[in-house]
Symmetry: C2
Subunit: 114 residues, 2 copies
DNA sequence: CTTTCACTTAATTATTTGCTTAAGTATACC
DNA sequence: GGTATACTTAAGCAAATAATTAAGTGAAAG
């Protein structure tokens, strides 16, 4: 249930807009490092560092052919992150559901657990 | 479509195990700062700092009554994050689908788009 | 063989994190 | 009033991030 997937790294990788932009580009197909860098108002080494974060998180893989490194998204790598979020969302939606108009009420919360 | 929700902050908030633990605790109901801190092998000010990150991300809200601050998860705050992930996952699963046994093949990738 | 191209590596730098301890504030209790 | 409780604020600090420029490597093109 808790695989050797570093959830920390995945969420950290997703927390940067440049890295999310790179992922979005890669959902439209494989790309070279230069192609990933092009829209990014950033030096190439900067992009390479972001790419390293993405690879260490398992979200992206790359292979070098000749002098071009081609990057791809890794299938299924987002699943643990999505699952974590989904589980929590469901849990607390259910809870908020049970509480009914708790939020609308006067919330005297002296009697909850512990 | 792109609300004033700082996706950066949400993913960043989720990238720390202590903060995720606090969120998991809060899915079981509201808690005071001390209750959040208890299982956390960390000083109270440390916990307060993590709490600040969670509040700034919009994932948690808190109100102070007397000398006790009670924390709650914010309904729906995770939705944009989940949605972002979901959209990408779907997009690239569809893509991998179209590619068929691309991954199993010899992958001569000189003819892709652009 | 030389130059160009596509990275790659290294070294720097400023900022942000994630923690700590110490001291302060504001209730609640006796 | 005095004291304990539940944070709160402040200050400091080591490590990690996010970026840069400059120099290096190795395949491709002329």
């Amino acid at each position: 249930m808790n695989p050797a997937v570093p959830l920390d790294r995945v969420f950290h990788a997703l927390a940067d807009p440049a890295r999310r932009a790179m992922l979005e580009r890669l959902t439209r197909g494989p790309a070279s490092v230069s192609e990933l860098a092009e829209p990014l108002a950033m030096s190439l080494p900067g992009v390479v560092q972001h790419l390293a974060v993405l690879e260490q998180s398992g979200l992206v893989t790359s292979r070098k052919a000749g002098r071009v490194r081609t990057c791809q998204i890794a299938a299924g790598a987002l699943q643990p992150a999505e699952q974590w979020i989904n589980e929590r969302r469901i849990a607390w939606e259910r809870r908020l559901d049970r509480l009914g108009d708790y939020l609308a009420g006067e919330t005297q919360m002296e009697g909850n657990e512990r």
